[in-house]
Each structure stands twice: as C-alpha cells, then as structure tokens.
C-alpha cells in the first residue's frame, strides 16, 4: 500500500546534513524524499496530492531517540510498544531505540524479533531494539550480539544498570566491533550510588535523602572511555548528567577515542531544586544535578562534545510514583515533551540555534546508530517532522498519548508544537487542533 504523495508547502526546510536552511516546498512520494526547492518550484502532476501548508513551520528530518523504555514485554499496563511508538510519533520522533530491560530481558534473537513484530503492527514510529550486553542483564555472560543484530538489534546495553565488571565491558567493546554496533553504558558506580535517591548536595542533605555523588557517574564514564581506547570499540555513554562527565568525554574525543554520548532534555533544563517537596516526578537516575551541571551539559550539546539528545522515556504507573520518595521508581516520560523542552531551554533560551538542535535530535543519532532517516536528501526515506517552534502550550499529562503520566513538566508552559510526523512518507501523527489542516484536492 503506497501512501499518497505529500507536498509540504512553504515551510522552513532545515537539514544540517546538507546545510539546507531555506523557505520552500518538499515533495514526498513512494515513501521517499522526491524533491525540494523554492516555494512553487516543486511540481507534480497526476495523482492525488496531499498538500500541507507549512507556513511558519519548520520542516526537519524526523527525530531519532536512541534511548527509551517501552516496557513491553512485561509491563504492558505501563506502556506497550504500540503506545510508545504512537507517543513517539506525537513527539515528532520517527524512530526510537527500545532499551532491553524488559521482562523477560531482550537478550536473544527471538526477543528482538518480537519487538520488531510488535512495532510493525503498531505502524507508528519505527522501533529499533537494543539488545542486552549480558544474559538477563546479570552482568556475567555475554549475550549473543551477532544473532540479535541479525534479528534487527542496532546496539547493545544493560541500561537500567551499569556493567559493573570492567572485564565484561572490555569484552563487549571488543566483541561488538565485528557487528559495528555501539555499546551503550549506564554509568553508575554501584557502591557509591547505593540506595541513592537524588543528587548528593545541599538539597539532599536538607531533605534527608541519600545522595548520589557526581563521581558515581564520572568514575564509570572514564573507565568506559579508557576501555574504548584499549579496545577500539564504540562506547556510547547514556544520559550524561555532570560537568565532570563532559570534561572526561572531551578528554577522550581529543585523543581520538571512539566515544559518543547523550544527554536528556530533563538534565538540560531542570536542577535538583525540582525535588523540593519530595516530588517523585523529579526522581530519575541519574538524578537531576546542579545549575552548574546544566550549563556544562547545554554547552557540551551545543559544541558536540555530547553528540545527541535522548529522552530516556521511562513511563511508570501513577501509583508507583504516588509514594514515599525513597521508594518511588526512577524515571519520567519524555517523548512528548522532548522537542518543546529543548526548544524552550536551548533554542529560545539562547544556547543554540534550531539547526544545531535538529542535528542533535535527528541527524547525529541516526548516523551514530546507523538508522534510516536523519536527513532530507533526495532519495532518502521520507521520515520527516513538521513543527511550530514558537507555539506555546501547557503540559497536561492527561493528554499524553503515552500511558505514562509521570512528568516533571506538568503545568509548565513550553514552546514548540509538533504538527506532523511522517514515516516512509506516511502520516503517523497530525496535530489535533484545526490550525494545520492539510488541503486535499477533490478527486
């Protein structure tokens, strides 16, 4: 079934992969980017054409999230691959990578195949499985990277927990080279972080909550960077949260070590102050840090020391979060607020231009994880997002497509609304409000 051709008319076409930034039209047909050019220059005769007025909007490569938790199999009451893929689409993501800390753990080719089948049935954003590094994420025995990659896995990770054994991490980095995949690590030195509930500092000391020091992350980050230097493997550092980590990554990159890193929208916008009042929707791991860390992370995303922004979307059932802070689970939903948080704090906040943001949310993640999309080049797959960078809205978790409601942004006014998301040239999300109705010529 071929989707009808789509003409995105009059938007600001922004594609860092070809240094494109102009007002124009973009034509999509047969699931591919067919052409783009100045307004009115792109013509197509014959078949039905779905024309969408994109005036005042940005037309971008679809966003790619290299880190989310879709909870299926195992916790389908919290999220499913279908609801997660639809939430992704609503957030402007055309592809997401699902972490393997499911139940059972995604640590073999059959489990990888299940996720791909569920994603195909959902027919929303593309979902790429990340396989486990170790069987059962137990940190002992290497999982079958080759078979998982054969079934469709794009990376390996034991995310949710660190790879405690340095020897296992070394072996994973070496073994992954055969398959050309990144090894993504959740950097957390477990004895320093044990029972921690938030960042260690004055706020944790005042609230009487066990703190997690920055060093718990940084010690593992530098260990992983050194092992990448030893092995030549590709280490990808998940959800970096501290200034120290940024400095260590910069140190590694200056020496040509194959290290890449991600930061999350919440670590780029909020601080430990958000925990005041014991708000469990501000509890995540790694925790929200200090204003100084936020500034360092923002700067690192701008200058490319941190390569990509990833959501770490982690839905939880509302009553799991409705409890004593120390007992509440870590994590927040992020797919449907990522763009607006990034626009509000990073672009409207004056840290970077929208072109850089698009690179960190779409182009670079697709390139690092070798995924389709991430570009508007002619002939590439038509994974495209159209958004209004200025429109203001107030976050109401009850309206999320995700089953998760656990957001620290509830009630906040953010700027930036996704209008349209296309995968393979097919519309998988269209903004509900009437402001951007496409015009369809009569047949």
């Amino acid at each position: 079934m071929t989707a009808p051709a789509v003409l995105l008319r009059g938007g600001r076409l922004v594609d860092p992969t070809q240094k494109l930034d102009q007002i124009g039209d973009l034509l999509i047909s047969d699931g591919r980017i067919e052409a783009f050019g100045r307004v009115g220059e792109v013509r197509r005769d014959g078949d039905a054409l779905d024309t969408v007025d994109c005036t005042g909007r940005i037309v971008s490569p679809g966003f790619v999230d290299v880190h989310c938790h879709l909870r299926e199999p195992g916790r389908e009451e919290v999220e499913t691959i279908a609801t997660g893929a639809r939430a992704a689409a609503a957030g402007g993501f055309t592809a997401v990578c699902a972490m393997p800390n499911t139940d059972p753990v995604t640590d073999n080719q059959a489990a990888v195949g299940f996720i791909i089948r569920q994603a195909n049935r959902a027919g929303a954003a593309r979902v790429f499985p990340i396989g486990a590094i170790s069987i059962g994420q137990q940190g002992k025995t290497l999982a079958e990277f080759g078979e998982m990659v054969g079934a469709g896995a794009v990376a390996v990770s034991d995310d949710g927990k660190p790879v405690v054994s340095a020897q296992l991490m070394r072996t994973a980095l070496e073994y992954a080279r055969t398959f050309g995949i990144p090894v993504a690590d959740h950097c957390e030195e477990p004895t320093l972080a044990a029972n921690g509930a938030m960042n260690e500092g004055i706020v944790s000391a005042r609230l009487g909550l066990k703190g997690i020091p920055s060093e718990a992350e940084e010690i593992m980050a530098i260990r992983d960077i050194l092992l990448a230097r030893r092995t030549g493997g590709h280490i990808h550092l998940c959800h970096m949260s501290t200034r120290g980590s940024v400095e260590l990554i910069r140190w590694g990159k200056e020496r040509g070590i194959n290290v890449t890193a991600e930061a999350c929208p919440h670590h780029l916008s909020l601080t430990e102050e958000a925990v005041e009042g014991y708000d469990t929707n501000a509890k995540m791991n790694p925790p929200l840090r200090t204003a100084d860390d936020v500034v360092a992370l923002q700067e690192a995303v701008r200058d490319g020391t941190i390569d990509v922004i990833a959501t770490d979307h982690a839905p939880h059932h509302y009553d799991e979060k409705e409890r004593e802070f120390a007992d509440a689970p870590n994590g927040i939903v992020g797919l449907e607020t990522a763009l607006a948080v990034n626009l509000t704090w990073l672009v409207h906040g004056g840290v970077m231009d929208v072109t850089t943001l698009i690179d960190r949310m779409a182009c670079t993640p697709a390139r690092l994880f070798k995924l389709p999309g991430g570009t508007l080049r002619r002939g590439s797959v038509a994974d495209v997002t159209v958004f209004d960078p200025d429109a203001e809205w107030t976050v109401d978790p009850a309206r999320f497509v995700s089953k998760g409601r656990n957001s620290p942004y509830a009630g906040r006014a953010l700027r930036g609304v996704v209008e349209l998301t296309l995968v393979d040239g097919r519309v998988i999300h269209r903004r509900r409000e009437a402001s951007t109705q496409g015009t369809r010529p009569p047949r």
Binding site: G201, L207, D319, E322
Partner: protein, 321 residues
C-alpha cells in the same frame, strides 16, 4: 477543626517555620508545663478531638510523650503501629491515610522511616499532620523540646553556642536543631567523623569541629546524638570503641572546658559510646528535663494546630486541681 491556626495546618519541620512561630510554640508550652505537675493531669481543651498516632517505626519515648500530651488535653487517641495493621500487609501510605481520614479524625501524628513521609501525608489529607520523625529529614517536636530546655537553662536562645555531636548525616534531630536554633539566633556547630556529616554541611551555616576537644572549648551546650549501631555495620565508622575514644563525651574532656557545659541527649543513649555514664548522670545533664519538656511542647503544638489562640493558653489549662 480549624486549620487556620498560627502554625498553619501541619507541623512538618522547623525549616518551614519562622522564628516568631517557634517562639510562639515555646511560649505556649510554658503554661502547659504546669498541668503535668498536678495530681489530676487533665484539662478539657481537646475534648471531642480524635487523634491517630501512626507509628511506622519503633518508638517508645516519642510515642508515649505524644500520647500523654493528647490525653492530658482530653483528646481521644488511637495508636497504630506498623506491625499488626494493614500496613504490614503491604497497604500503601496513601491508602492508609485515606482510610484513617474516612473515619473522620482530626489529627495524625506520624513517625515514618522515609524522609518526606509526613509531608506526603499532609498534602493528601485534610486533617492536621504532626511529624514525629520522618526518615533522616526532621523531628520538629524534638528540636522544640531541646530548645525549650536550653531556654529554661540559659534564659534565652539568642547568642548561645550549641554543638551537635555525632551522626549528623542520618539524624533528623540534628536537622531540626540546626534550623530551629539558627532561626532563634543561636550559634550552631557540629562535631563528628566526616563520614557521618553531610558532604554539604558547609552550606548549612554551621561551624564544623573536627575534634570534640575543640567543640567543648567553644560550646555552651552539647546536644549529643545517639550513634545508631547499624552505622558501624554499614561501615561509616570502624568500631564503637574507637568512636568513644575519639568522639565520646567524657568527664575528663569536659573538665578541660573553660566553663560548665549543659549536656543534652535526645535518647535513647548508648552509654559508653557517644556519652559516658558519669556525664549522662552528671550535674549538668538535662536529659530528663528534655523528656519532661517534651510533653509540654507537644501539648502546645497540638493546641496551636487545633486552632487554639496562644493568648488563651493560660486559660485553656482549665479548672484548678
């Protein structure tokens, strides 16, 4: 019951209170002291009020003190301990709270192992909530009774020097003392092994003494915290014996001080660990006065939260003996 008293709806911590509110509680406690000295220790002030003492952690002193305070004000009280209630069957705190509220209670006194538990409850029920200790966060009535005891002895709090000794990291008593004393104008210091002080202690506005001898030279009063024995098992200190030798408050150490120091301890004491027996039982120990003052302070808090007017506290004592 009115929630619009001088303290607001709840007493969750001293960090939230102003100096004036703390002074109000201490002043209100003064007339209530006398009730406990009567032959018939009961006034009708809270007759008809129902209060639940919800204790998720073992406690003797604090629970009994609250219960006496409630009973001496004629409230109807129920004690719920974590064993033997639905709590031990896995009911969540929010469900426990809603069920209690459905029975139309007026106040909840809560002791809980999780920091923030009292606030969690207060935000979800209409009843007044009194924090009787939440995790390693605050224990406001302990801080208040410590301050009342200090004020009884020094005649003021402004300008006195108090050193809190021991496991500040895990101590809710320490936090309530630090906030309360600083708001009342006292100078506050802490002394203990760095492994038992918060890393961010420098941002609390207190002086830090590495050596107990230096603290003793400086202070007018020591508030000596209980050293939880499990801290040794968790590896924060190597042994109780060494703790006593390095940080223990002994008579020999006190005798080298330029003046007599007032000795406070929130209890229960580990004699021979953080405090030697001849100090605990010595002439400058006010440890039992703290316990006596605990009842009066809790009566004052109950009275004020119930909407009682501070200027009528004297009259609220009711009829004679």
């Amino acid at each position: 019951m009115s929630a619009a008293g001088a303290l607001g709806k709840d007493l969750l911590g001293l960090e939230d209170l102003s100096g004036d509110q703390i002074r109000l509680i201490l002043d209100t406690a003064e007339p209530f002291k006398e009730i406990s000295e009567r032959a018939i220790k009961k006034v009708p002030t809270l007759r008809g009020s129902t209060i639940v003492n919800l204790f998720f952690e073992a406690s003797t002193r604090t629970r009994v003190s609250f219960e006496f305070a409630e009973k001496r004000l004629s409230a109807d009280t129920v004690n719920v301990a974590s064993s033997g209630s639905s709590v031990s069957k896995g009911e969540t705190l929010v469900d426990t709270a809603r069920n209690l509220e459905a029975m139309r209670i007026d106040m909840v006194v809560i002791r809980h192992g999780a920091s923030g538990a009292a606030r969690f409850l207060a935000e979800r029920i209409e009843s007044n909530v009194i924090n009787a200790g939440d995790g390693t966060h605050e224990h406001p009535t302990q801080g208040l009774l410590d301050m009342l005891t200090l004020r009884d002895n020094f005649g003021r709090l402004d300008g006195i020097k108090v050193c809190i000794c021991g496991d500040v990291l895990h101590s809710r008593v320490a936090r309530s003392n630090i906030w309360g004393l600083r708001k009342m104008g006292a100078e506050v210091a802490v002394c203990g092994p760095r492994s038992l002080l918060p890393n961010a202690i420098g941002e609390f506005g207190v002086t830090v003494f590495e050596h107990i001898e230096d603290a003793i030279q400086w202070a007018d009063a020591l508030n000596i915290l209980r050293l939880q024995l499990e801290r040794m098992h968790a590896g924060y200190i190597p042994s109780l014996r060494e703790y006593n030798r390095v940080f223990g408050v002994s008579r020999e150490r006190l005798e080298r001080a330029p003046k007599d120091l007032l000795i406070l301890h929130p209890g229960p004491m580990n004699r021979g660990v953080e405090i030697d027996s001849d100090v605990a039982d010595g002439p400058h120990s006010v440890i039992l006065d703290q316990v006596t003052n605990g009842v009066a302070v809790r009566m004052a808090v109950l009275y004020l939260l119930a909407g009682g007017r501070p200027e009528l506290a004297e009259a609220a004592k009711g009829g004679g003996r």
